[in-house]
Each structure stands twice: as structure tokens, then as C-alpha cells.
Amino acid sequence: MTNLDDLYREIILDHYRSPRNRGELEAPPAVRVEGFNPLCGDEIVVYLDVEEGVLANIKMTGTGCSISQSSASLMSAAVKGKPLDQVRATIATFKELMTVHESTLAHDGEPARVDLRALGELAALQGVVKFPVRIKCATLAWNTLVQGLDEAVA
């Protein structure tokens, strides 16, 4: 079960059981975007308040597995109240974590190019990449966020 413990770290189970930033924002003014994982049926709705270059508020609803839900919760905690460029940088680092690992999985090495410290609690999700089919669970909220940001600044 070592494998499983790698995936289901305590932080992840905690965010799954007590998700942060659950709820809705009135849209408009907030931006509302939906994300689907067509392969497993997971759904997420992300609400964003962008004010003067800052992601002032973020709320989410939806259903999904522990990975998609905890990833969303961890994401919301990491980006809420942050300037947009910093949000984008976090997104980029997180995505790298997901893809770097995926392609270097066979070598089983550490993800050299990703600064895990910059990720804080998000680093708990690194175990996901050992389970390639679950990567889509972990990235669902993030892809939906990207879409929302694009709409918010459009």
C-alpha cells in the first residue's frame, strides 16, 4: 500500500474532507466557468472576482474524487488574494509538476526543474503523477481556473 499512501497524503485527505472556499459568488460581477472531466464525470464550477489585477476572491462548487476536490481546494487557498501574475506563475509551476513527473516517471527521479518549496502545500499532490490516469483529476480545477482568468481579463 506504499503506493497508495503516496497518492493519498494526509493533507489531501484533509482538504477533501474539509474543502476550502466552497460556495458561489454572484455572477456577474463574478466570472463563472464550468469544467468537466468527460472521462470520469467530475464537474467543477469556479467563480472568480478579479479586481485591479488581483484575484480578489474565488469560490467553487462541484463533485469529484478526493484528488480533484483536494486539488481544487489547495489551489483556491494558494491563489486567493494574489496578484494575477503570481497566480499565473503558480499555475505554471503546478502544471510543470504534473507534466515533468509524467515524462520522467520511468526514471523515478526527483522533479529537478520544479521548485517544490514555491508550491507549499500544493507539493502534496506530487504523488499523483505516479498514477497517470489521475493527473486529469488533479488538473481539472486548474484548467478551469485558466479559462476563468482568460474570460475575466478578456
Binding site: N3, L4, C40, D42, G64, C65, S68, F131, R134
Partner: protein, 411 residues
């Protein structure tokens, strides 16, 4: 009556020898795709090794053998479902989904117009929904849904109302999510009484019970090779010769024409009209072997075996999990097959399946291509375990053990 032994079937299936994380595989995903016996795998290998050639268009030895093998598969399949007109009524497609697109976009486009109703059910697979939505975009037909009752059966209480304006009733023989076996004979009578035709999605049912299109009195039957011990890459479309004959071409290309000029073309007659391009030849060989294999087992034996496994499993969940694991599907075992969808309280299906994987248990989490049904029951997904002729009670034992761990872990 042939004597049936699931253990003997297992011995024929190489994948069942596999170890997953050092444990024997517990394969419980037959509703998604079945495993293949050596008879099927070897038939295809031998075909490639000895007689692969393109069909229909050559006179040399291996080409006639390939043609005979391909057309022979049509005969076997026709016999398997008791097609009254024989091989000439069997069209080979790439999967059940293409067969449904053929039904909607050839027969449907020709025979349905704005306002005509296609009646499907809330428990249909997307393959029997999306093509009708696509046809609706171009023709303005109405797609109507038979509701599903709280005990997971078709709600036919308002059948007269439901049937108003219906030209085609199209329903699954067995639900791939609930395990519910629908009353096809009754539905055929209902459809015909209202002047409608009936199409049956046999993707699940044909693999697990004897299907006789004459006895059922149905007009179309669709199924798929990879769910009935056969290969990927082949599906079947059956309809009566008198209907097939009137259906316009679907995909265009070589093989489906009688003539092509620079100013137009004339389609061929018979099943080849709907088989554009090089057909799935090796796949037909594999499907033929699968049909023979199933006939050797005896479909009534297969049904009985899987029914017993399902009945045993259903009786054990409650006992073992005291309500924490809910069955999404009929609780009683009449008109019910070996497909068991589970909702584990407080644990997402993906997480359940992930834990089960560590025990070598292969089950499927997700919406099973039946999102309208999921919405009907307020679910995003279920965990589905499903049986095949090679399944054993032992598989249920391991499933229950692994489920116990999942419940504990997220408890």
C-alpha cells in the same frame, strides 16, 4: 444442454493468469470490455500468418480464403441471433456506436422528419442518445426519454402517452449501469401496436444471453465484438432484409458502390453498401471465433452462471457494509444481469477504484457513458463491477475485501 464450467473458461483466457502487484487479477469489468479466450486471439494471429489478403476483389487463393473467412463470420453472426434472412442482413461496422450512427443517419435521416419522435430511455448509453441528438439538429425530430422508476426499471405506466408520434423505439436489452434487463418482447409489441419500429441496443445483452430477433420480433439489433469475447474494431448492425434494402448509403468510398463516374455514383446492394473501405477482416475472423466459443458454452449456461454470481454478490453487500454501500440497480434478481453499480457513502468512485486496483481488482468508476441516468439519480459516477462467463465467487470475495479497505481508508 452442454455442461458449463467457469473454471474451464478461465483456463482458456490468458489474461486471467496475470498478476497485478503480485496478486492474481480480479477482472470485474466485463460490461466495459470482455477478456478474450485463446481461440479468438489465435484465430486472428493465424489469419494474419496464413491468409491475410483484401476481400472481395481478387481471385487468388489467399484472397478467396480471406473473403470466405469474412463472409463466414457474417453467417455465424446471423445464425447466432437467428437473423431470418441470414448473412445478407448482417452489416459489420467498427463498433456498436458506429452501428447506431448508421441507424440514425441512414435509416433515420430517410424515414424521420420534423416532429417525428424517437423514444429512447433514461438508462441508455450515449451511443443510443447522441446520434439522435445529431439527427435532431438536421431534421427537427423529437428525442423523448422513457423515465426510469426509483427501483431502476423502465417506467411504462404512461406508455400510451409516451408512444404518441413515435416512429422508432430504441432501448437497451440490458442496462450497462444498472444491470436491468428490459422487457424487449413487450416493448416490441408496444412499438408495433403504435406503428413504430423497435431497435435494440444489444451491446450488453447479446454477450450474456441468447438473442433471437425473430422470437423478440424486433426490427434492428446492434452489438459490439469486444464485449462478447471478441476483438476491438468490429460492431454489428442487423435489420431485416426488407428494411436494409431501402436504407441509403452512409459512409462513402470503395466497396460500397456499384459504379462511380465523374458525375456521380450508384451504391451497391446488400450489407456491403454500408461497409465502405477495407472492412475489419481479421476482426471478423476473431468475432466468428468468439461466437463459436459462446455457442460452445451455451448462452443459457452463461446467463445462469452470471445470474447466480450477481445474486450472491447482491445478498452480501448489505450484510458486509450495513448500508454504507448502496446498490444502484434492482435489488431483486429477476430480469437482472451481472452488472452491479455501487455507491460507497462518502467515497468517490474514483477513489474506491484506486484502492481496489491495489488489490488487483479491475472495476470501472465513472458515468459509464450514461450521464442522463446519472443525473436522474443525482450521481456523478458509480463504481461498477460486472461479470463474465469466466467470473467466480472468488472474484466477489476479493471485491468485498478490497471495498472494506476503501471504506476504512476514507471513513
Amino acid at each position: 444442454m452442454t455442461s458449463f464450467s467457469a473454471r474451464r473458461v478461465r483456463a482458456d483466457i490468458p489474461q486471467l493468469n496475470r498478476l497485478i502487484y503480485d496478486r492474481p487479477i480480479t477482472y470485474l469489468d466485463s460490461a466495459s470490455t470482455s477478456l478474450q479466450p485463446n481461440a479468438v486471439i489465435d484465430a486472428m494471429s493465424r489469419y494474419y500468418q496464413l491468409r491475410h489478403a483484401n476481400v472481395h476483389r481478387a481471385v487468388y487463393q489467399t484472397a478467396s480464403e480471406a473473403t470466405a473467412a469474412y463472409e463466414g463470420a457474417r453467417e455465424s453472426v446471423a445464425h447466432f441471433i437467428n437473423a431470418p434472412g441470414g448473412a445478407g442482413e448482417i452489416v459489420f461496422t467498427k463498433n456498436a456506436t458506429e452501428s447506431f450512427n448508421l441507424l440514425a443517419k441512414s435509416w433515420g435521416a430517410k424515414n424521420l422528419a420534423s416532429g417525428d419522435v424517437v423514444l429512447v430511455s433514461e438508462m441508455e448509453h450515449h451511443a443510443n442518445i447522441v446520434p439522435w441528438f445529431q439527427l435532431r439538429e438536421t431534421t427537427g425530430i423529437e428525442v423523448r426519454f422513457i423515465p426510469v422508476t426509483d427501483d431502476y426499471r423502465l417506467d411504462l405506466s404512461r406508455s400510451e402517452e409516451l408512444m404518441r408520434g413515435v416512429k422508432l423505439l430504441s432501448v437497451a436489452g440490458m442496462s450497462n449501469v444498472l444491470g436491468t434487463i428490459n422487457p424487449i418482447g413487450e416493448l416490441a409489441a408496444l412499438a408495433h401496436r403504435h406503428g413504430a419500429l423497435i431497435a435494440v441496443d444489444g451491446a450488453q445483452s447479446v454477450a450474456h444471453s441468447a438473442t433471437d430477433v425473430v422470437a423478440l420480433d424486433i426490427d434492428f439489433l446492434i452489438f459490439t465484438g469486444h464485449k462478447m469475447l471478441g476483438p476491438t474494431g468490429i460492431g454489428v448492425f442487423w435489420t431485416r432484409e426488407d428494411i436494409l434494402h431501402t436504407m441509403p448509403p452512409f459512409l462513402g468510398g470503395g466497396g460500397m458502390i456499384a459504379d462511380v463516374r465523374t458525375d456521380g455514383y450508384t451504391p451497391a446492394n446488400g450489407p456491403t453498401r454500408f461497409e465502405a473501405g477495407t472492412p475489419p477482416i481479421a476482426e471478423a475472423v476473431g468475432l466468428n471465433a468468439a461466437v463459436h466459443y459462446l455457442e460452445g458454452l451455451g448462452m443459457t449456461n452463461v446467463t445462469r452462471h452470471e445470474h447466480a454470481l450477481a445474486a450472491d454478490a447482491l445478498s452480501r453487500f448489505d450484510e458486509e457494509f450495513q448500508g454504507r454501500v448502496r446498490i444502484i440497480g434492482p435489488a431483486d434478481t429477476t430480469d437482472r444481469g451481472g452488472v452491479i453499480s455501487l455507491d460507497v457513502e462518502g467515497v468517490h468512485p474514483h477513489d474506491v477504484a484506486q484502492v481496489l486496483d491495489q488489490f488487483g481488482v479491475c472495476v470501472r468508476p465513472g458515468h459509464h457513458c450514461a450521464k442522463p441516468l446519472m443525473r436522474r439519480f443525482g450521481l456523478a459516477a458509480t463504481v461498477r463491477a460486472s461479470y463474465g462467463p469466466y467470473s467466480l465467487t472468488k472474484d466477489t470475495d476479493v471485491l468485498l475485501e478490497a471495498l472494506g479497505h476503501a471504506v476504512k481508508m476514507f471513513g
